[in-house]
Amino acid sequence: MTGPVLSARDLTKTFTNAGRPLTVLEDVSFDVAPGATCAIIGPSGSGKTTLLGLCAGLDRPTRGTVRLAGTDLGPLDEDDRAALRAEHVGFVFQSFRLLPTLTAAENVAIPLELRGESGATAAALDLLDRVGLADRAGHYPTQLSGGEQQRVALARAFSGRPALLFADEPTGNLDTETGARVESLLFDLNREAGTALVVVTHDPELAARCEQVVSLRAGRLVEDDAHADSDRQPSAAA
């Protein structure tokens, strides 16, 4: 892929609350190159999760466009966008979102199953081995600790070899030590798979490990001095 794997242009999202319009995101534009890492940061209520939802095609913007893996999401309906996600996108959630009725291995296999790939189980076991959970493959989510659940979620996110991985506060529910291990794993896998990473976080250290930072305040992009170093890419291409 030669162009950016994710391209957001003039994204605006307005909700109507008690009859009054409320703009939670305004004119946000940025690109993420293939294999790049990008952090979306900002205080609570600044529009981070809204932006992530728009970029992943989970929601539609009031104005603006999103191109994901070269495809404009605008004309696609819900099922087309789901198909696009199945093909190109991985997800890691703050609260893991493992399916409670599936084993660790079955959870990891879902993206492969979605594509109808053969050998899904073997691939899932490989990935679990990669995240250090080979011996937990047959366990259900409730039988795993938080850190283990998030590692399973990481394995699931990468199992489909996505071009782009969205992570929503991936270490938010973990203690510092476990969080650091999961974080390392995230970047290692990103590097190995050549997957672009878009991570929403409160954690300055996690943001600092990213090549690119999109900083939001009250729904607008702001310049972030800490990341305006010459050796980094511009934080936003507004």
Partner: protein
Amino acid sequence: MALSPLRFAWQDSRGMRRRLALYVSAMALGVAALVAIRSFGINLERAVAEQSKEVFGSDLEVRRSALFPDSTVALLDSLRDETGATVVREATFPSMARFPASAGGEGRARLAQVRALDGPYPLYGQVEATPTTSAGQIGRDTLGALVDATLLLQMDAAVGDSVQVGNRTYAIVGRVDGVPGQTDIGGLVGPRVYLPLAAIDSTLLGFGSRANYTVQYRFPDEAAALGLVRPRLDEAEIRYETAGEQQQQVTEASGYLSRFLSLVGFVALLLGGIGVASSMSVYVSEKAETVATLRCLGVSSGRVLAVYALQALALGFVGAALGAALGVLVQRTLPMVFAGFLPVDVANDVVPRALAEGLGVGLVTALLFALLPLVGVRRVPPLRALRDDARASGPDPARWALAALLVAAVAGFAWLQTRSVVGAAAFVGGTAGVFGLLAVAAVAVRAVVRRTARPGLPWAWRQGLANLHAPGNQTLVLLVTMGLGVFLVLALALVQRSILEQVALPSAEAGAADVVLFDVQPDQRDGVRQLVEAQGLPVVDEVPLVSMRISALDGVPVDTLKEVADSSFAGTEGGPERWTLTREYRSTYRDQTVDSEVVTAGRFEGTAAEDAVVPVSIEQDLAADLGVTLGSRITWDVAGAEIESVVTSLREVDWARVQPNFFAVFPVGPLDQAPQTAILLTRAGTPQASARLQSAVVEAFPNVSAIDVRLVLEVVSRVLDRVAFVLRFMALFAILTGLVVLAGAVRVALAQRTREAVVLRTLGASRAQVRRILLAEYALLGLLAALTGGLLALAGAWGLAHFTFEIPFRPDLTWLAWALVVVPALTAVVGLIGSRGALRQPPLAVLRAEG
């Protein structure tokens, strides 16, 4: 995409299967009812077809409510000779049967149905009698009588005793245990005495007799004989019935019965469906995060729906299969339930067609009800994986379409059962109406309880009450399902009670008659009166009875009117209905109205001159069917003499009162000298006095019959009991379904209950306190369901009493009181048993799982 919905549906149902299986079993009872009734119905149809000759007793039967004219007798005899048929002649009439040896030699008597037979009865099938050989004596010219077992039991008589009917006494040679084609219920209403026709006291068949005459044929070659006989009887305008026609009628009647009961079973299925829909809706809301995650991972909405629809389909199949198996078991009990109503022996065969139909109907119902909430998974936004508050908004047209499909399916099923658009519409409307009313009543009762909740209540009860209003609870669904069960049972019980009271009450009133003596001839009136008074009993009333037929209306001869009635649909062209022209009227004359009637038009004339046109008062419904009004002229044929009358008043009559009531009432004067009998009413007060009186009357005046109102009451009560038993049996399915839905709902709410219990216990509540809260919640729920169903039952029973039976509504509130105790207790027990897991969980484990 190749994620196999089938495999994923299986994987996704892990840990939920037991829970899901419970609520799908709510379908099982309804399916069981349908399979059982349908199998029974099909077996019944077969039995009727196989046993039709035994049921009907002959190939052809000619019947008349008076002696056959000589010309008819000649024709019937020649037909017998031409076809080589075997013939049985019969006269059936009510008469007193007195057993002189009973009551220590004092004798006991009661009204019986006499079957006087001549010929080798029965022409088909066998009479079950003790001793067995005595069955062969029926219809032979001997002085031996056979008597129904029930009558012998009642009269404390036995084979070897004698029975007096009219002026003759017969030796009881046999006890009749069963006659082909007769039902036990029939025997209950009129127990039978079998006598030889040739040896009947002829005075019993004389003037004023209510005898029916039949001639039954058994042909050596039925088809050929019918080909010969039918045209001859048609030509002579003699009414007859063949075994084939009778079979068709019985098949139709049994079809109506099984279809009606199928509809009652279907109500149980619909209740189960509501249970499935409500449990599914909780299930879907719990699955919202899984669905959102799947959507994020790229699974299409259709595929997600397919996953859950497959789960519903599989569970529906399990539930329906379970129900079908249960139905086969239940079917084995049905011949017992219906014993007494059926003229045939019904087999217990398993009917594959009934099984398939039950499975199909159950599966479709389960799927449609499950899909109602399930289609919502299409609209779970993937954003829900990021934000808990992400929800789809706006109405879902698919849900409306499904609801419409569901109504259409229900209407379709009802149409299949009733084969009538009006019937199907009435079923859909009635069911929707009752469900709607229950829902409205449930909301109202809940609102009232909420308003009246006192802060002074113990904490556990306030907490339990609050749980009933908590968001996401299933209070409304449970109130509707359990309330419907309470409604069905209570409404039946309340109406039954009102009918019985209606019959019982007049006899309980001080001074009201409780024994009716009828067929008293004019020359016997003084004698009967003296006999009654000699027993120390009062003569409450004496009513003359004059038999008559209509011979012309406003000058138009009745034969002309009959032709008009035959050539047009009865009543549609304003002409008189046929039954009003052909029946024999038993009228009376008196100088005033009585308390069971009210004049609604005109003025009642109590006296009239002999030579003038006679003023007559007509019952208003008859007037409508006859097409007469004030001023219309009616010509009556009274034993050959014509009496010209003019309608001067219309009356509304309370027919439910156990006292003589009349279609036509004449003034005193014109009919005084007409051939007549009399009814004499007295009050015996006690069963012993009544028995003594009846025995004495029959001994002195054998042709006079007596009815003890208490006996009527007893018969009505026993018949109603049998009918109510059948209906209650079907209502039972609805109640059990309500309990299964309750158990399912408790199970579905267990996770929520567990979380609440853990929080409460973390805050320091003891297990006992948590148990009390649960007890309070479920007991209150049961109480509200009983109140909701009970209130509606009161309204429904009032409606039935007022509009259908037209009797005053006198509810027996002890039934309601029972419901208010039993239903909450049952609900609390089911609720506590279902929730015991919530109490067992250690708080720490649950909190860790939450994290």
